[in-house]
Assembly symmetry: C2
Homo-oligomer: 200 residues x 2
């Protein structure tokens, strides 16, 4: 493959190829696209990478990504400070914010407990969560980790840490996705939906 | 959506979102991935973009992308200089080189004639091709534009320009893809495959 491709181009393709979900063909397509962009757009792209890397860090309180000491949600005066929703990743905050149904606080773990991948509780921001519950006047912690084995384990682990502190620990409901067909729901989901049934 | 996301992060997501084939979700995933990269990897990515943009330009002869005056293929001593394969984009050169069946020259048009998109022959590197045919001792020009209406039109347009110069102009064969099922071939392809049948 090499030999007939300019090194600077090969390097750019390689850089795109390292990104998750970007294969060799997409990397090539993206690299050619970047080359076809006006000079200033390429500079803006290049700067955005450096800039984000330099300025973005974890919020001191909720560990979500921010460019300030506290993220806009933690700083906000209009949010219920007594409820914390615990999520795995910053993108889960984005997903929950999109519902426009939640107006309390978040806590981002930055992962799940996964012994297979060598991730223990100490690598997650669990300590920070415990001290928030201890120090702030938190009444409820909603576990919103993913519905995977690891997400569950993490939720159970954290709830065992928090319950002795006298806080209510809840979990997102399991059930059939809205618009979903019973026929296509797996048995475990259906069983959970039955279990969690509520009065009409 | 905005408001709770740091501006530097939003800008990075936006930059990824501008790339072709990268939607909002992928852009977010890629941006978070870039943030999770070590500092020096992010710097390398950022530099690769600027670097490619600064150093890569069109080869003086074949208009393929290169960081030198002439691309490695045009500079090579081991290639047949009397045959030129005309392609739409630099990535087509990559595809043809991968076959390892072609060892002559290329010419990259950087597009196709497309009146609907406002692309006329003058925006493509057709002039350069004509002067190559005129000045170098070219015996055959292989049209390898895509098998689309626009690719065809461009091939026919160029062949009409070149034929008066006494050069042989050919086109890639149409037919059933290798490994393809007759059942799934469309009628036009099948008709072309019949038309182009050859003796066994």
């Amino acid at each position: 493959m090499a030999g007939f491709q300019a090194p600077a181009l090969a390097r750019l393709i390689d850089q795109f190829n390292r990104l998750p979900g970007i294969g060799a063909k997409s990397a090539q397509r993206l690299a050619y696209y970047v080359l076809s962009m006006p000079e200033e757009d390429a500079a803006a792209f290049s700067n955005a990478i450096l800039d984000a890397h330099k300025n973005i860090h974890k919020c001191k309180k909720c560990c979500n990504l921010t460019d300030d000491e506290l993220c806009p949600i933690c700083k906000s005066m209009n949010r219920d400070k007594t409820t914390i929703c615990v999520v795995e990743e910053p993108k889960d905050v984005v997903a929950l914010e999109k519902t426009q149904e939640y107006s309390a606080m978040y806590h981002v773990l930055h992962g799940v407990i996964s012994p297979l991948n060598g991730v223990g509780p100490d690598q997650l921001s669990i300590k920070e969560l415990v001290s928030r519950v201890r120090e702030d006047n938190v009444k409820e912690v909603i576990m919103a980790t993913n519905a995977t084995a690891e997400g569950e384990t993490t939720a159970i682990y954290i709830s065992r840490l928090l319950k002795p502190l006298g806080v209510k620990v809840t979990r997102l409901a399991y059930g059939i996705p809205v618009g979903g067909d019973l026929e296509y729901a797996d048995e475990v989901t259906l069983a959970r939906a039955l279990e969690g049934r509520c009065e009409l």
